[in-house]
Symmetry: C2
Subunit: 353 residues, 2 copies
DNA sequence: TTGTACGCGTTATCAA
DNA sequence: TTGATAACGCGTACAA
């Protein structure tokens, strides 16, 4: 049997002894306009032939594909998946389907996928971009395709942005660590590259530490090529740091840092550890790893909402809009320095809940 | 600007002073048949108008949507995501795009999504089903739509199956635990319900233990409703069991069991712990959790390959085919009873590598 | 090598 | 309330 032999609108019409138009109306949500008997005939015929409207043909005629496209930088990243979950839900609720492309952080694949999604005439695009196919994106935006950038954003593209309030998150992290009594902060990140959230987090960190004479801070990057880099960096850091704590810029870094600290035999808490991004295992590794959780699902839903708002909007294009969400602090054992209080005189501020 | 104003084939043809046919050929992969000058003219015109072929119209004409549909039971399950990654890669490599639906283990949503995917005329369907929309699936299969069932399978549906060799996996688990010196085995699972892999794993477990007089085994189910169930079950188990080990039927269970064991203050290794499904954190929780990893990416790729094989196949329908992959054992500290050898006389067999 | 004409399955417009 | 007909954007015989 070849790919599929589907019944068509016309066949249903014939079977029901009705016209194409009536059948179209029946399935197009205008049943009320048909007489009960006609409705019954069509319903029966459609059931007999196992008819399903062809969304492709629909899209062709009406220009509405009912498709939302999503570009994901790394589908194996729990953050991306969590957001995708929100996107998918919101889409379904509003009657859209989701066409996803995983780009594996490869700009070339990003372009390919972008072209592909465009060719399916998606009505909106949610993008978690790796490289910056800025030109391609802008060209799509110019054609009137609503765009939402997730988390990372590109200055050169005119699009809405939805993501985490990175400055606030870093503030929360620093405040928490300071209150817990840590004094030396290591900001551990992957190379910022083009990825704006990493840059923002680092910038805020730098900025905040300039205003905190009691805190010492530095930043180190984890290049993906060198698996042992984390251990060496942390070894250096622990060698001189007093009341040290590590602030991990994302989930990957938290994983690497946790491994490295374990390899070094460090005790979590005595060495502070706080990660941005919440992960399943964070409360599992004793004594629990403190995290700043992103409201991933809300972010995903907000992205779709933005998209559809633009679609429905008849007014001239609004200026790009930024929707930023606050992180939520999950305080756990890895930042409970007090548990190790020994020779430190008691100069930690109180943790306020 | 309304949704999009796209250039059409016809406009390009006019702009290039050529015919529709030539432009169609240019983009349909028959450039060689056009004279160099014509090619140039078309290329330029297309670029000027930022033309992109409309995949919808293409699909309409040729009956080839170039779309593969995938139904995922739970998109936040790392196993599902890992397989999806393989599926997506394989699709892209063969020029297909992936339309995904997350069903959240809800049969109703499953049906909805199925209808949706069908309406986009996907050329094949990869299904990780929760409930069993058997009738709907069979009806799609009858229409000639190639189906691949992932992991869980439905007896009543005539479709290919790709997944883990569950019997072999359980064998590997039991052999490993026995060799390490464990004698009391607890098979911890979510309620099997319709999900065939859980049933298979449990059946094999039962079967194997019947033939092992030295081993004692039992099974308990973790109902999702009661978060503390795991702790109680394990407490009971540890109260009587000698050289106890827990075999977790999937990643979720491993997570719950690990939490519960920690809450009970049990030491991993002294109490054996082996999970089916590999997860990021498994090597992180000291002393490392032993797992049986599924070759998720291979499974995803195999699913697509099956699908496309059926598509290309002109011969009459072959009987459904099962492709089963072996698991890979990651032996870690959580099953190293030897580390706790004290009063046990040394009757553990040697672990063979 | 290039162009003409028709049909894919659907919706929109208009007329009955 | 119903039906006929013309698009939608593209592929493909077939003819030139």
């Amino acid at each position: 049997m070849r790919p599929s032999r589907h019944a068509t609108l016309l066949e249903v019409a014939r079977e029901a002894n009705a016209s194409k138009t009536s059948v179209s109306r029946y399935f197009g949500g205008e049943r009320e306009r048909l007489s009960p008997s006609l409705q019954r005939r069509i319903a029966q015929a459609a059931r007999r032939l196992d008819y399903r409207p062809n969304q492709m043909a629909r899209g062709l005629k009406g220009g509405r594909s009912r498709l939302i496209g999503m570009l994901v930088a790394d589908i194996r990243n729990p953050y991306s998946v969590a957001v995708m979950h929100g996107v998918e839900q919101a889409c379904r609720e509003r009657g859209y389907s989701l066409l996803v492309g995983n780009t594996g952080n490869d700009p070339a694949q990003e372009r390919t996928h972008l072209a592909l999604l465009a060719s399916y005439r998606v009505e909106g695009l949610v993008i978690n971009a790796a490289g910056s196919p800025g030109r391609e994106l802008q060209s799509l935006a110019d054609q009137g395709l609503p765009l939402v950038l997730l988390d990372r954003w590109l200055e050169e593209v005119e699009a809405d942005v939805v993501g985490l309030d990175n400055a606030l998150a870093v503030d929360m992290a620093i405040d928490h660590l300071r209150r817990q009594g840590y004094r030396s902060l290591l900001f551990l990140s992957e190379p910022p590259g083009q990825a704006s959230p990493r840059q923002q987090r680092w910038q805020r960190f730098e900025q905040r530490l300039a205003g905190e004479p009691n805190l010492h801070g530095e930043r180190r990057d984890l290049s993906p090529g060198e698996p042992d880099a984390a251990r060496e960096i942390l070894q250096d850091f622990l060698a001189w740091a007093e009341r040290p704590a590590v602030l991990c810029a994302n989930g990957n870094v938290t994983l690497a840092a946790t491994r490295a600290l374990q390899a070094l035999g460090a005790r979590l808490g005595e060495v502070g550890l706080l990660g941005i991004d919440e992960l399943d295992w964070c409360e599992l590794v004793p004594p629990g790893i403190t995290t700043l959780a992103q409201p991933t699902e809300a972010i995903g839903r907000a992205a779709v909402q933005q998209l559809l708002a633009r679609l429905d909007d008849g007014t001239p294009p609004q200026p790009p809009r930024r929707t930023l969400y606050p992180a939520r602090l999950n305080a756990r054992g890895s930042t409970r320095l007090a548990a190790f209080a020994k020779n430190h005189d008691n100069d930690c501020d109180k943790e306020q809940r």
